[in-house]
């Protein structure tokens, strides 16, 4: 039932204007909160979909209109403050500040600032030939440089690095991937499946330098970069792409009673917790920065950078926060435990990966269906318990395991 806050014109503030913010705003409105609601984001764009940034946005070129999420009428009266960077917060005073020194008081705060690409910062590099891909503007900047015959070096062989490698190779670039680990994608997928993905990339002409790290990048002639590795070898490139993981955007929350190690530590309601473990009633985190306990996994707290998590956490926070704002009488612990099944997918050449669960929790994996050189499905186990599943192709079968992964937690 809708409720109002008569004399209260202090807004709910959501910081960060991406998918998590969008789903939080929708859920707040759908759950009955009708008071002022403002989303503040540092990017110039309304929320847009990021997975295409390492694929179609580089190969076909796409505009914000192509990637923008639809804005449903339920959030018509939400205020969007774009191009505004929040730099600090005072949670006791319920005020945040932007980079222009303006203060923004809030009634409740949702941290949805996500992660940024980790950068390696080589001081002698030609920086206009160094790229990372996290935002639409990043993808636009890189796209013009990916020409047939361009020599592209990618540092990092995780999902983003491998996806960009496939996209650049398909565009006709000469692509070399440098991986500190002996096998690409081994940490999430295991050595067997990671090795198979590397073989398929190599069959398309992607070069891999594995077990190597970059020690130096120095600008050469004509805006090229010379990349030196830890074995003393070096290679020249026209385009250098860093795909070496992410860093949580939590600096603006420093100097408050929070745990900001690897994100924002929250309770199962996504409320940010103090050092003593008690939650702030009016401060929440959603999306990539929310380090939340998942009931599927013994309530151990982890931040999960998969596409479905901003939506799952945003919906949860919208509902919880709406009840909180309705007043003490309406506050009730949600009946349902919070146990989202992480899901992710990746497209590299003709390889279509689909996965569920938390593969990095596994201590072993085994081939469950198919053959390694063909369509196949791997299961990931922690002891005897299935904690994740990943397939190349065979999606209908992969999807059947999702129910098993969701049900495993319910035994607890």
């Amino acid at each position: 039932m809708p409720h109002t806050q008569p004399e209260d014109d202090v807004p709910v503030l959501i910081v960060g204007a991406s998918l998590g913010a969008l789903r939080t705003a929708e859920a707040l409105r759908r759950s009955g909160y009708v008071g002022p609601l403002t989303v503040i984001g540092d990017e110039a764009h309304l929320p847009y979909n990021r997975p295409p940034l390492s694929k179609a946005a580089l190969s076909d070129g796409v505009s914000h209109d192509d990637l923008a999420f639809p804005l449903r009428s339920v959030i018509d009266d939400v205020r969007w403050m774009l191009g505004t960077r929040i730099v600090s917060a005072d949670l006791d005073a319920r005020i945040i500040r932007d980079s222009n020194g303006h203060e923004h008081p809030y009634r409740a705060l949702v941290a949805a600032t996500g992660v940024r690409a980790r950068r390696l910062n080589f001081p002698e590099a030609a920086n206009n030939a160094c790229f990372a891909v996290r935002t639409l503007d990043d993808a636009h900047a890189l796209r013009a440089s990916l020409q047939p015959g361009s020599r592209v070096v990618i540092i990092g062989a995780g999902f983003i690095g491998c996806e960009i490698a496939a996209t650049a190779r398909t565009l006709g670039c000469e692509v070399t991937v440098i991986s500190s680990h002996p096998v690409p994608l081994a940490r999430p997928l295991g050595s067997e499946l990671g090795g198979e993905i590397m073989r398929r990339h190599q069959a398309h002409g992607v070069q891999f330098l594995v077990g190597r790290t970059v020690t130096q990048v120095a600008a050469g002639a004509e805006n090229m970069n010379m990349v030196t590795l830890d074995d003393g070898s070096s290679l020249e490139c026209d385009v250098l792409i860093e795909a070496v993981g992410s860093h949580p955007n939590t600096e603006w929350l420093r100097d408050n009673d929070l745990n900001l190690e690897s994100g924002v530590l929250t309770d199962s309601q996504l409320r940010a917790v103090r050092a003593d473990g008690t939650p702030w009633p009016d401060v929440f985190a959603v999306g990539d920065i929310a380090r939340f306990p998942n009931a599927l996994y013994d309530n151990e707290a982890h931040a999960v950078e998969h596409w479905n998590i901003p939506s799952e956490t945003g919906k949860r926070v919208g509902e919880t926060l709406s009840h909180y704002l309705a007043g003490p009488a309406a506050v009730a612990e949600p009946a349902e435990r919070f146990a989202p099944v992480p899901s992710f997918w990746s497209d590299q050449f003709e390889i279509h990966l689909l996965a569920y669960g938390t593969l990095v929790r596994a201590d072993r994996n085994e081939l469950l269906h198919g053959e390694l050189g063909d369509d196949c499905i791997f299961g990931y186990f922690q002891g005897d318990r299935l904690v994740g599943v990943c397939g190349i192709g065979m999606r209908a079968t992969v999807m059947k395991y999702r129910a098993e992964l969701a049900a495993t937690g319910q035994r607890v």
Partner: protein, 63 residues
């Protein structure tokens, strides 16, 4: 009735929509998406959830 559109140049057959609206979307034996172009109004909420979870944002309602 509701009218459902899927942009098949964008769809990557991830099948996330199948969990949200199994009466409307399914993957066939070749792992390709099949869907009903029209459905009863009672499916609207499920289809809207399917629109939200599509990683490629390929689904829309014509109205």
């Amino acid at each position: 009735m509701i009218e459902i559109k899927v942009d098949m140049t964008t769809c990557q057959h991830y099948g996330q929509c199948v969990f949200e609206a199994p009466n409307v979307f399914q993957l066939n034996a070749e792992d390709h998406l099949e869907w009903k172009a029209t459905a009863d109004d009672s499916e609207r909420e499920n289809v809207e959830a399917a629109i939200d979870v599509c990683p490629m944002q390929a689904i829309s309602l014509a109205d």
